[in-house]
C-alpha cells in the first residue's frame, strides 16, 4: 500500500497528540526488545486503532509482526469481513485460533444456561496459541480507564509460564523506560493505548478517518431486553428464553467482544461525529454494557490472573 509523500510542513507542537506519540514509542520498543511479538486483533475499535498506530510507527515498512485473532465463534459477521479486508490491505500475516477447537479437543467445557459465554474460554485458546508460536510479546488494546483492575496494569506487563498476572508484584515503570527483559517461557502483555480513554479512541478514529465495522453505528436490529440490558436477537448466539420478547430498535455497540456478553445501547448515532458526541455525554461506562464484568466486583482481576487479556 504505497502512500504518496506530501509536501513539507511544520510539525506543530500544539496539535501534537501526546498519547499518539507515546503509543508509537511503545510499538517501537516492542519491535526492538522482543523476538516474536504479535498483535492481538479482535476486530474491535481498540485493536483497529492499534493497527493504525503500528502502521505509523514503522512506515514505510510493513508492520513487522503478525496479527492474531482468538475467534470465539460468536463474532458479529461484520467484524470478520472487516478483519479480512484490513489484513489484506496491510499485507501482514493473520493467525486465527478458534475457541471451538479448544472445546472440541476437550480442554475446556462450553458454558450452558442463560448467561453462557465463551469469553472466559478464550483464555485457554490464547495461552495455547502463545505457546504454539512461542510469542514473547502480545500487544493488546486494553485501556486503564476501562475497568478498575485494568487501571493497575503496566504498559509492559509480565506473565509467567502459566500466563498469570502477579498483580501485587509488578515492575515499576519509570519515565519512558520499558523493561522487557524476561525469562524463557514468560511473555509480556503490551498495552500501547493504556493511557487513552474511550473518548480519546473515538476522537482519534474521527480525526484519522479510520474505517470501523458498521455495528459501531446505529442500525435497526432485532433485540430483546434482559436485566435492563439490550441483547441482539439475531444470529442465535445469545440464549433467549421463550418469554423474552423480540422487537426492533435502533441500536449500536460500544464494544465488540464476544457477542454473547456484549450488550447494545439504544442510539441514533449513525455517523462518527454523532458517536463522538454521544460518548462525550454518556452516563454509562463502556464496560457497563459487558455482562462478564457484572459477574462480581473482582471479575476482571480474577480473569486477568488466569491469563485473560
Amino acid at each position: 500500500m504505497a502512500t504518496a509523500i506530501n509536501g513539507s510542513a511544520d510539525l506543530d507542537i500544539l496539535t501534537r497528540n501526546p498519547l499518539e506519540n507515546e503509543a508509537i514509542y511503545i510499538f517501537r520498543e516492542v519491535a526492538a526488545q522482543f523476538e516474536k511479538p504479535v498483535l492481538l486483533f479482535s476486530g474491535g475499535k481498540d485493536s483497529i486503532t492499534l493497527v493504525r498506530l503500528a502502521q505509523k510507527a514503522f512506515y514505510p515498512s510493513k508492520i513487522p509482526f503478525p496479527l492474531m485473532h482468538i475467534d470465539t465463534g460468536h463474532n458479529f459477521p461484520e467484524t470478520i469481513a472487516f478483519r479480512d479486508k484490513l489484513v489484506k490491505e496491510l499485507g501482514v500475516e493473520l493467525i486465527v485460533r478458534k475457541v471451538q477447537d479448544t472445546i472440541d479437543e476437550g480442554k475446556v467445557i462450553e458454558e450452558t444456561g442463560k448467561y453462557a459465554s465463551r469469553n472466559m474460554l478464550q483464555t485457554t485458546t490464547l495461552l495455547d496459541a502463545i505457546e504454539e508460536f512461542k510469542f514473547d510479546a502480545c500487544i493488546g488494546g486494553a485501556r486503564r480507564d476501562e475497568e478498575k483492575a485494568r487501571a493497575k496494569e503496566r504498559i509492559f506487563s509480565v506473565r509467567d509460564d502459566f500466563g498469570q498476572w502477579d498483580e501485587k508484584n509488578q515492575r515499576p515503570e519509570l519515565f519512558d523506560m520499558l523493561n522487557g527483559q524476561i525469562e524463557l517461557g514468560q511473555n509480556v502483555r503490551v498495552f500501547p493505548i493504556s493511557n487513552w480513554t474511550e473518548l480519546d479512541v473515538w476522537s482519534y478514529i474521527q480525526k484519522e478517518n479510520i474505517e470501523i465495522p458498521s455495528i459501531y453505528f446505529a442500525h435497526d436490529r432485532n433485540i430483546f431486553l434482559r436485566d435492563g440490558m439490550i441483547w441482539s436477537a439475531e444470529d442465535d448466539v445469545v440464549f433467549r428464553a421463550e418469554d423474552e420478547e423480540v422487537r426492533v430498535e435502533s441500536v449500536r455497540f460500544r464494544t465488540v467482544g464476544d457477542m454473547s456478553c456484549t450488550a447494545a445501547v439504544l442510539s441514533r448515532a449513525d455517523t462518527i461525529d454523532k458517536v463522538v458526541a454521544e460518548i462525550r455525554d454518556s452516563k454509562i461506562s463502556e464496560r457497563g454494557a459487558r455482562i462478564d464484568d457484572k459477574r462480581s466486583d473482582a471479575a476482571m482481576e480474577k480473569r486477568k490472573q488466569q491469563g485473560y487479556f
Binding site: 506543530d12 519491535a31 505509523k56 514505510p60 478498575k148 515499576p172 523506560m177 527483559q181
Partner: protein, 415 residues
C-alpha cells in the same frame, strides 16, 4: 488537548483515594454504573456515606484491607484539560510505587491529615517530589472536617511545612497550600462554606490554572535511536530511517548532527511522521529521521546537534532509589538501561545513604535495601551519553535491572 499528569502522595489513610474519587464525582466523571457500584459496596460495608476510594482501589486485596497497594491511573477531563492522576500507595513499604508515579508526573498533590499534621512520611514524600524536580506541588491539608475547619490548625501545618521547604534542594518548585475535606467535598471542586477564611483556589481551580510548563523543555535536543527502519521495497529501496522520540528540544531538516558513540557527522535529510515529511520535529514527537550520509546507526545510538554534546563517560555518580528486595552491594553488577540503551554497570562506591525524611545522611554503608536512597558511583562496560538529571530529565535518568530476576531494581538520577 492538554494532558496534565499528576501524582498523589501521603501517608496511609490520609485520603488520597478518597480525594481522587471526590474529584471524579464532583466533576461528574463517574458514570452511573460506576457510581451505583460504589453506592452498593458502601452500603454493604455499612457506611452512611459514599466511600469514594472504591472508585480507584481496583484490587481485591486493596478493597479488603481498605488500602492502596499498587499505583492506579485515573482519567478525567474538563473543558480545558485531560487529567491523568496516579493514585499511589501511602504505606512506607510501597515508597517505590510513589517514585514511579511521580516519575511521569508534572504536578503532585501531597496530602496531610489535619489531625496528624506534618509527619515523617510528609517529609519523605516532599523529599522525593523535590528529588524528581516536580514543578508544581500542592499540599492538600485534608480531613479539615475533623478539626472543625480550624484556620489556626491549617496555619500551624502550613508553617510546619514551610520549615521543611527550607531544606529542599530544588528551589524552583511552586508550592500551594489548600485546606480540604475529601470526604465532604470542601475545596476540592466546590468552594467550602465552612472555611470562609480561606481565600485561595479550590484544588480543581488550581489544577485548571497550572500552566503546564513542560518539564521536558530545556532546549537540548537528544534523539536516542529506538529502531532502524529498512523497508527494502522497490519504492523505498535505499531507505534507512532512524525511529525514535525527540527529547529536550527541536530537530530540523538540515541540522548538523553527531551520531554517538561513533562521533560521525551528518545532516538531517528528512523527518517523517507516518507518511508525511516535516521540517521540524518538536520535543516528544515520535518521528523517523533520515541522514544525508550513509552511516552505520543502530539501536541505542544517539543523534545530537553538533556543538551540543552530552557527557560521554564510562563512570558517573547518581542518586539512586532502590526498589528491590535483593540488596545493592558494592561490586554487584546490573544491566543499566539509559533510555533505550543498555550497558553493564558495576557498583563502584556507595558514598552515603540519604534519609529522605531530611534527618541526615549515613556514611560507610555496605549495601542498600528496599526504598533506600543513596549516592552511588557506577562503572560501565561501555560509555553512555548522558546529561545531569538537573539539566535533562530523560537523558539524566536510568533504571537498573537485576539480571537474575529481570526486575527493575532501582532508578537513578545522574548528578
Amino acid at each position: 488537548m492538554e494532558v496534565l499528569k499528576i501524582a498523589t502522595a501521603g501517608s496511609v489513610d490520609d485520603g488520597k483515594s478518597t480525594l481522587i474519587g471526590r474529584l471524579l464525582y464532583d466533576t461528574k466523571s463517574l458514570t452511573d454504573d460506576k457510581l451505583e457500584a460504589i453506592e452498593r459496596t458502601s452500603r454493604k460495608n455499612g457506611y452512611d456515606y459514599l466511600d469514594f476510594s472504591l472508585a480507584t482501589d481496583g484490587l481485591v486485596a486493596e478493597r479488603e484491607q481498605g488500602i492502596t497497594i499498587d499505583v492506579a491511573h485515573i482519567y478525567f477531563s474538563t473543558a480545558t484539560k485531560s487529567y491523568i492522576i496516579a493514585d499511589t500507595p501511602g504505606h512506607v513499604e510501597y515508597t517505590r510505587n510513589m517514585v514511579t508515579g511521580a516519575s511521569t508526573s508534572q504536578a503532585a498533590i501531597i496530602l496531610i491529615d489535619a489531625r496528624k499534621g506534618v509527619i515523617e512520611q510528609t517529609n519523605r514524600h516532599f523529599f522525593i517530589n523535590n528529588l524528581l524536580r516536580i514543578k508544581d506541588v500542592i499540599v492538600a491539608i485534608n480531613k479539615m472536617d475533623l478539626v472543625d475547619f480550624s484556620e489556626a490548625r491549617y496555619n500551624q501545618i502550613k508553617s510546619d511545612f514551610e520549615e521543611l521547604m527550607g531544606k529542599r534542594d530544588y528551589r524552583d518548585q511552586n508550592i500551594t497550600f489548600i485546606p480540604v475535606s475529601a470526604l465532604k467535598g470542601d475545596n476540592v471542586v466546590n468552594r467550602s462554606e465552612k472555611m470562609p477564611w480561606y481565600k485561595g483556589q479550590t484544588l480543581l481551580e488550581h489544577l485548571e490554572a497550572v500552566d503546564r510548563k513542560d518539564i521536558y523543555n530545556i532546549g537540548t535536543p537528544r534523539f536516542p535511536v529506538q529502531y532502524v527502519i529498512r523497508p527494502k521495497t522497490d519504492e523505498f529501496h535505499d531507505f534507512r530511517g532512524f525511529a525514535g522520540k525527540v527529547y529536550g528540544g527541536e530537530l530540523s531538516v538540515g541540522d548538523e548532527v553527531v551520531v554517538l558513540p561513533s562521533m560521525t557527522r551528518s545532516r538531517i535529510k528528512d523527518i517523517y511522521f507516518y507518511d508525511k515529511k516535516y521540517r521540524t520535529a518538536t520535543r516528544r514527537t515520535s518521528v523517523t529521521i533520515t541522514l544525508e550520509d550513509e552511516i552505520n546507526v543502530s539501536r541505542g545510538d544517539m543523534l545530537v546537534k553538533a556543538g551540543d554534546l552530552p557527557t560521554i563517560d564510562k563512570q558517573f555518580t547518581a542518586t539512586i532509589s532502590w526498589m528491590d528486595g535483593q540488596k545493592l552491594t558494592v561490586g554487584s553488577k546490573y544491566v543499566l538501561q539509559h533510555g533505550v540503551n543498555k550497558v553493564l554497570a558495576k557498583v563502584d562506591t556507595i558514598h552515603h545513604k540519604i534519609y529522605p525524611d531530611y534527618s541526615g545522611i549515613e556514611e560507610g554503608v555496605a549495601s542498600l535495601g528496599m526504598n533506600d536512597i543513596a549516592q552511588v558511583t557506577f562503572r560501565l562496560n561501555k560509555p553512555i551519553f548522558y546529561d545531569s538529571f538537573k539539566n535533562h530529565r530523560t537523558n539524566g535518568s536510568f533504571i537498573l535491572i537485576d539480571s537474575n530476576s529481570n526486575h527493575t531494581a532501582g532508578v537513578g538520577f545522574i548528578n
